[in-house]
């Protein structure tokens, strides 16, 4: 079997608050092979964001604790390597496109400042030498890659001067700065209007395609799964309940949970029977 670029094996994470332990991830396993586009889909509270944070190494421990499993990226077991090695991979070989373009950018620095800082630290970790001018050239280059028509102007701007879609593009550009091999995208475009979201998803698809990147798309939106991935993991209550090639999942879902989830999605061509979905899960009223 060929080694996947990223493989998560049997990952378990607990959260302990006020002496009470919650088992948030219970043996999560998934693989992202080189150049493949994988989706991790789940409703709120399913554990998809915790999985992403564990992979990126940005879980707050405590309250969280990784109690079992391994995360192997490109042959390195991320849970046992030194902090320095880990830092070298994060933001360089794997990087992250964040969800909320309104709050992921610092309002008091220009885009060029923020991107320059990221690049400076990425360079330092990788032992690359680049001066301020070189960094700005790279910033302009990456902004052009995310189809910004006027990269110099965008670089000089403060976040408040940009629209939501522009800010999301800046976040994608930030993730691309250090030429990663794996891009992890957490609900990109969710905070945006549907027409802007379509632009961002198309851009993201084109970028990973033309640069040969692996993509792990984390989302709650089954439509986004179908449009962006070829293989999908469905998460529920801290477990992967089903995995399949994306087309197969929609054509032939195996688990009752997945079937109900798919049945809940309103269809653009009509015919969604909400009453049937409601009946099939009568036991909604929680204690």
């Amino acid at each position: 079997m060929s080694e996947a670029l990223l493989s998560v094996r049997d990952l378990s994470v607990d959260f302990t608050t006020y002496g009470q332990t919650n088992y948030v991830l219970r043996g999560v396993s998934l693989e992202v092979p080189e150049r493949r586009h994988i989706a991790l889909v789940g409703e709120s509270g399913s554990g998809k964001t915790v999985t992403m944070k564990a992979i990126m190494g940005i879980l707050h421990t405590p309250p969280a604790a990784i109690t079992g499993g391994e995360i192997v990226f490109d042959g390195h077991d991320l849970l046992s390597v030194s902090q320095a090695e880990r830092d070298q991979l994060r933001g360089t070989a794997m990087s992250m496109v964040f969800q909320d373009p309104m709050s992921s950018l610092n309002p008091v620095f220009t885009i060029a400042d923020q991107m320059g800082t990221i690049l400076k630290y990425a360079d330092r970790r990788l032992g690359r030498v680049r001066n301020g001018k070189g960094r700005m050239e790279r910033v302009h280059e990456v902004l052009t890659q995310v189809r910004m028509r006027d990269p110099e102007r965008i670089a000089r701007a403060y976040p408040i001067m940009l629209s939501g879609g522009m800010r999301q593009r800046v976040l994608i550009a930030m993730a691309l700065l250090s030429e990663p091999r794996l891009l992890i995208a957490d609900e990109p475009g969710t905070a945006l209007d549907v027409t802007t979201q379509a632009q961002i998803l198309k851009l993201l698809k084109d970028l990973v395609e033309e640069r040969g990147l692996a993509l792990l798309m984390i989302t709650h939106n089954l439509g986004v799964v179908r449009e962006t991935s070829s293989y999908v993991y469905v998460m529920h209550h801290g477990r992967i309940v089903e995995e399949a090639a994306t087309a197969d999942l929609f054509a032939n879902p195996q688990q009752a949970y997945t079937r109900n989830l798919i049945a809940s999605v309103p269809r653009l061509n009509g015919g969604t029977d909400f009453l049937a979905v409601g009946r099939s899960e009568e036991a909604e009223v929680a204690p």
Partner: protein, 297 residues
């Protein structure tokens, strides 16, 4: 006349002044720019639009939370443009807000929240507890929920309470402002099922405001599409979705991520400019060009 629409909106406009730093008015934003539509009794009218389209401003004007700059709002044939916000009007029109986390008072129990409109309108005097229990049953919640606080409920349950509160005064029209956008998709399905069921049983009329076109397709009987304060297209849901005539409607439909090949097949293709998805402004600018060319030839 009994076959008059329940609600008629006629050339409704709302503009907000733009002020410079000295407070002098230097221009205006036309948030709602000449919108007309009507909602028949028992209908679910969907108002679709992206942020800034004016859909919430229209809802606020119907609720009497904002004053129209000009235009008329008629409820059962009566012009209520001046009467909005009064008690009598509040009995006829109620609203369910987007975020149940912030539209329910955290310091009131569910029962107290539902009692607010009953007290305000002097309804069910002496039998309020029975009425509250009845309303909770209507939204399929156990009656003992009356003594719980909002933080003890899930998002879907909170939204059910908000619906119960809106139903308390037996209104004619309920304005639903993105009632499920904060909910998970399976919870959304159940809340929509509840609204459909209540609509039929109680003969309610809904104005349903949403950005989710797939949801609108399955819930609304008629749809209006708003763009920058103007109603660009309106009509029966199925016809509008299958044969959209306006370029903006086509762009909106083309942008929706879908989960089946059948949906993808009925969806218009995304307009591309240099390999990139065109923005609404670009699409409409192109439209303007085509039209002006058409006029010249």
């Amino acid at each position: 006349m009994s076959d008059r629409p329940l609600l008629e909106i006629v050339d409704l406009r709302k503009s907000f002044p733009i002020r410079n730093k000295f407070g002098r008015v230097t221009g205006e934003v036309k948030a709602v720019d000449g919108v007309s539509f009507s909602i028949a009794r028992g209908q679910v009218y969907g108002l679709a639009g992206e942020s800034g389209s004016g859909k919430s401003t229209i809802a606020r004007m119907i609720m009497g939370l904002a004053k129209p700059t000009s235009g008329d709002i008629l409820l059962e044939g009566q012009n209520i443009t001046g009467a909005t916000g009064t008690r009598a009007y509040g009995r006829k029109v109620q609203m369910v807000f987007q975020n149940p986390g912030s539209s329910l008072n955290p310091r009131r129990t569910v029962g107290q929240s539902i009692a607010v409109p009953l007290v305000a309108h002097g309804l069910a005097v002496g039998q309020r507890q029975a009425r509250i229990a009845e309303l909770l049953e209507m939204v399929q919640l156990p009656t003992e929920f009356a003594s719980r606080f909002p933080h003890e409920l899930s998002g879907g349950q909170k939204q059910r309470v908000a619906i119960a509160r809106a139903l308390a005064v037996e209104p004619r029209l309920i304005v639903l402002d993105e009632p499920t956008s904060a909910l998970d998709v399976s919870v959304q399905a159940r809340v929509i099922a509840l609204l459909m069921d209540l609509g039929q049983r109680l003969d309610l009329t809904f104005l349903f405001i949403s950005h989710d076109l797939s949801l609108m397709r399955n819930f609304a009987s008629d749809v209006g599409v708003l763009y920058l304060g103007k109603l660009v297209e309106t009509g029966p849901t199925q016809a509008l979705f299958e044969r959209p005539t306006h370029a903006y409607t086509r762009l909106l439909l083309a942008s929706v991520p879908v989960i089946s090949a059948e949906e993808a097949a009925m969806r218009p293709t995304l307009p591309l400019i240099n390999g990139e998805v065109a923005t609404a402004a670009q699409v409409l600018a192109g439209l303007a060009e085509e039209q002006s060319k058409g006029n010249h030839s």
